[in-house]
Symmetry: C2
Subunit: 710 residues, 2 copies
């Protein structure tokens, strides 16, 4: 559908010239026409015959209205007829209205009768657009009516929305079933509605000055979708587009920062307790193999390394400078970093925006921008990149190599990441603190981790997204390759208030975050622990090849709870084919439960677990397994753990890999078994039937979003 930009520009220019902030109804209608957004057909008839033919052309029923500059109260003048159902009625109606009008005001100038398509029936819906400070233009969709307002059942997508986005909005509301035709009602024309949504989204994307748009209601019927009312609000000074470094520049700089060959520590110190000392210790004791340059104006040597007064005195190239000096000295040192052409500064010091020193932070941003230095922080713990044995932080060291990259906006959450990782022996590629995000933010990290071969999942905690649109665009691309998990704090209005007292950032409407993150293929963690568990389990699990999940359980009780969790996590329990059911039955006691869950019953020997799990891996119709283990003396926890690991290894050798998770019900020995299983590629959890299903559900969510499951 070609859009007439010139026409819209003309209308907007006129509105601007008139100094107005909203469009009149006729202007709104013209804008809609230019973007193929259906509005009621209308025309002006100057004769009864013309009224009849116009009406016939647009389809009955129609509304007839007198057109006269002198008659403001048309209804009072008997100048309106609704529900006109035939050509005959239209002809007669024209005559009646003209006569009434003349009768009402003999001096009125009667220009004719407006014939307008009358909308009714179908489903009333709302299509709109808003401008969000972080995400920019968004298109919105919901059902019409008061009840929907009360239920707040509305869904958003970034504008412009693709056709798939628009179609997904029709399924994205709680009342989606209403569009499919309930109680004999006809289903709406999904194509027409999606096209309308798409056109609205393109319109606001093309014209940033359109700040709000409302089509309310839109009558969606089985044959079309027509906006009965249009409201367009404009803002003549929209927020300027944010500066964004080029993709290749980000990749180049971030690679030098995250995987440096030479690190300078500004404020390096020999004195225990100083941050500059902790950073030095972490670098050296962490086993970092690159060059380390301590920078300190009053020392010649620090921890056995030659010290320099300034980075400018260092004879070789430096990739990243870690700042461990008080806030007031940062700006000057940053200028020197810029002059030395170091691409990255890790700004550990606090005392900037988070304490009200917004100006100080702005100064750093300006210096960074001027010299092309990317800034991490300020007000951060630093970062870890394990594959370089790099702990560029004053916190405790961490060195378990793995493939999960984590980041946090808050230092406290960063410490929780370290603690959890160490406790769970979670392998990580990187842990990064983003703090005040004066420059480097979540999308820079995504851009780096996307091409970092040591990273297979990215898990991020954030309180705001300074540039939500940039994040969404990058996440949409990256999540096709690697799972992206986000814990967005300040989800709720109460939480959002705390976020804003903490970072001075305005937390966005959570529903918008929720929808846009989903649109971008991001897995949203509901809780801190969930974020951590996802980061730990998702990279361990192979990608499922299909939707068929089978539960094999020794404890019937676990089977029920695991089934509950499958529904909660949008997993589909396979309807067990008769032959497969029979095959399972061969291995289990006669009173074991049929179907899915496969209930092998308690007290079974290792062989029963072995046989049934083997069958689950063998049969190509099964795509994933959830195991429910019940601790018995016949099959103790470690016996179970080892047999599962063996069967999995056996099939892996044959090229068969399926995601398997396990719930372990038993005495404390199950904790050791869970650890063993996890280390062998089977995420396993003691005393929980929810956690294993939750992580499997997240893997599925990602795989579906990335188009890996048909």
């Amino acid at each position: 559908m070609a859009h007439n930009k010139t026409e819209v520009r003309k209308i907007l220019d006129a509105v601007k010239a008139a100094g107005r902030l909203s469009l009149t109804a006729p202007e709104g209608k013209k804008v809609c026409d230019a973007y193929a957004i259906p509005v009621p057909k209308e025309g002006v008839a100057t004769s009864a015959a013309e009224a009849a033919s116009l009406a016939a052309g647009m389809g009955f029923p129609v509304v007839l209205k007198i057109v006269s500059p002198e008659i403001l109260h048309k209804t009072e003048a008997g100048g309106v007829l609704v529900g006109v159902k035939s050509k005959d009625e239209a002809e007669r109606g024209f005559a009646t209205i003209m006569a009434n009008a003349k009768n009402y005001d003999a001096k009125a100038n009667l220009l004719g009768v407006q014939v307008q398509q009358m909308l009714s029936g179908g489903q009333e819906v709302i299509v709109g657009a808003v401008t969000d400070p972080s995400f920019g233009k968004l298109v919105a969709f919901g059902l019409g009516g008061v009840l929907v307002e009360v239920m707040k059942d509305i869904t958003f997508r970034l504008a412009p929305a693709t056709r798939d986005d628009a179609l997904s909005m029709l399924d994205g509301i709680a009342a989606a079933e209403m569009l499919k035709g309930v109680r004999g009602a006809e289903p709406v024309d999904r194509d027409a509605l999606a096209t309308l949504i798409g056109n609205v989204s393109q319109l606001v994307a093309d014209f940033p000055e359109i700040s709000e748009l409302d089509l309310n209601p839109v009558f969606a019927t089985a044959k079309d979708a027509i906006a009965a009312d249009v409201r367009i609000v404009v803002d003549w000074s929209p927020a300027p587009a944010r500066f964004r470094p080029k993709h290749d520049d980000i990749v180049r700089d971030m690679n030098r920062i995250m995987k440096p060959d030479a690190v300078a520590v500004i404020g390096a110190s020999s004195e225990t307790g100083k941050i500059g000392n902790s950073v030095m210790k972490n670098l050296i004791n962490g086993g970092y193999q690159g060059k380390i340059y301590p920078i300190n104006p009053s020392a010649d040597e620090i921890m056995g390394l030659k010290a320099y007064k300034s980075v400018k005195d260092v004879p070789k190239d430096i990739d990243v400078a870690v700042f461990a000096i008080p806030a007031k000295f940062v700006a000057q040192a940053l200028i020197e970093v810029g002059e030395k052409k170091i691409p990255g500064a890790v700004l550990i010091p606090s005392g900037f925006a988070e304490t009200g020193n917004v100006e100080g932070q702005k100064e750093l941003q300006e210096i960074g921008h001027k010299y092309g230095v990317r800034l991490m922080g300020p007000n951060i713990y630093g970062f870890y990149y394990t594959w370089k044995n790099l702990c560029a932080t004053f916190c405790t060291a961490y060195d378990v190599k793995g493939h999960a990259a984590l980041s946090s906006q808050s230092g406290g959450i960063g410490m929780a990441i370290i603690g959890f990782s160490r406790s769970a022996k979670m392998g990580v590629s990187a842990i990064v603190g983003l703090g005040n995000k004066s420059d480097i933010d979540e999308d820079d990290l995504l851009t780096f981790f996307e091409q970092d071969d040591n990273t297979s999942i990215i898990a991020q905690h954030c309180e705001d997204l300074k540039d939500g649109r940039a994040f969404a665009e990058v996440a949409k691309r990256v999540s096709k390759k690697k799972p992206v998990v986000v814990l967005k704090a300040g989800r709720t209005s109460m939480g959002a208030r705390a976020a804003s007292s903490h970072t001075g950032a305005l937390a966005g409407n959570d529903k918008i975050y929720d929808d846009v993150l989903r649109q971008s293929g991001v897995i949203r963690a509901k809780a801190l622990r969930d974020l951590l568990e996802y980061a730990r389990a998702i990279p361990v699990l192979p990608t499922p090849k299909g939707e068929n999940v089978v539960i094999i359980t020794g404890a019937g009780g676990s089977g029920v709870l695991l089934s509950d969790a499958c529904v909660d996590n949008d997993l589909k329990l396979m309807a067990m084919p008769a032959d497969l059911d029979a095959a399972f039955r061969k291995f289990i006691p006669p009173f074991g439960a049929a179907g899915n869950p496969v209930d092998i019953t308690g007290g079974e020997p290792p062989k029963t677990y072995q046989n049934t799990i083997r069958l689950g891996l063998e049969d190509p119709r099964i795509h994933s397994l959830i195991l429910g283990y019940w601790h018995t003396i016949v099959t103790p926890p470690m016996v179970f753990a080892k047999l599962v690991a063996e069967v999995v290894a056996e099939f892996k050798a044959k090229g068969i890999e399926k995601p398997i998770v396990a719930s372990l019900a038993g005495d404390v020995e199950v904790e050791e078994a869970a650890e063993y299983l996890f280390a062998h590629g089977i995420p396993a959890y003691p005393y929980s039937t929810e956690m294993p299903v939750m992580v499997l559900g997240a893997k599925y969510q990602w795989a579906r979003g990335a188009g890996l499951i048909r």
Copy 2:
């Protein structure tokens, strides 16, 4: 409002005599009249004047309809007038209708004109009643209309419903706001609606043969609530009421069973690996101080104790017999138990209903009933009662005394309870396996634990409630004194299917469970781990005296997530009074965040935590504290844990106790700190901002339900 039972009985008798299964509309209307359920007023006028006066009496608008046995198609005959708005119109209408009718059929016998109150406007709602196999009669309430059907926004209460129950239903739907008047609409008359709901619930409670009732729609306006349409379905052979032992009998028998002075082990054995051997070992090694009587026909002595061939040979009284023999021998041994007048049998053996042997289980039930022996199981692990050092089970022993009583329907879940308890060092009073629940069920346990001074919380896992109504009634009473937590498995339709394959029990509609459990004051756990965490934390927390929660956090990031969790868990962050804000500010850095959360900022010394927590305990306007700890070298985890415990002890000595929970963000040392805090009365969780708030939220939910918070 007096209800006319005689009138309803008469109508139902007539319907039964006619062999019908539903009532006609006039019958339904009469039933409503008898129970003061408002229906449209109506009357027959034989003159125009009478029509006008009838109409005026019921209020305009009214509908007029010809009354004539010969005229079936009233509208066709011109015999219907809707929207009659005045006495004049009514008079004229009467004449018109009579004339039309005469004109239509001159031979028709015209009996007059029916004048009926015309309903419109207000909010359309549905009030109904259903019969649930477990809960019996339930009253239902929801908004009318298709959209509500799609959203499945309906709520249930046990019938009869109290006035409070009925009022709570108006707030119990997602669209509750609609009743309060949205967009200028008038709010509905809540009293009238609650009265109508109450009357419907009383009607179905009084007449068990009414199996279904629908008032759809009911027009709820600012001045009344009137049912426009009534549908009543009857069932002439309703399920008979279940047998229920008397309260005092339950208490007497359960006390002997759970706290026995003498235990017989039927099938006691010296042979390692036998269940009868494990039970003996657990009893003896567990330190049980009562009498133990091994029963075994082919042994004189077992593990140093004199053995008997039958319980009947034991010279003294026995309180409980633990069965450790194969299923086929159970019935005979149970008869002997009955003859010995032992009040309880713990039926560990499997091989009954769960394997399809329903008849065998029925036989046990009949024997138990005949001899007055209460049956636990069959198909269970047994039970623990720590305060008697009693491990009447073949599972691993457990002896950490505490105040949480747990039960599980499934053995696997029982093992998870043992493992979690041991791992978390959770003190318990009892752990009980209920298995097939042939007799003793959740409400028997509730009745016992209610009066058991060693128990302060009851946490139960169940898949079905065989007698949901009995459970709800007991839970409603018990939960006023002690928190009752339930994990109802088979919540979802997929889970419910597995439940039914597992136990042969029909899992009820989950929404009904949800509503009735809430009505009964039960805290519903969403997940196994939640059930366990509730059992561990709730008894540790003092009961809050009010709703004002304050977060004190060292990590701003935790503050945001803790705030999110407060909203999720229905906790109210106190709006900080200016004087209190100023008082907190004295202790924290100038850039610490104002209000609530109190952000003391990272890197603060122990003193800052001390001062702010002390202030939180001191000020009577604050009722609960949530602490967000951030691991730093200035205030290491154990230093924090000890200072909190100290402050809490100091205030306890002064008689001030408030619930405090803590979220610990830091390296692995926080795990030790969490354990220390928990042991000192402060539920604390590492790497989680959700769990501490969730358990505090549950404590609040209980306290509100029990009427302890105004």
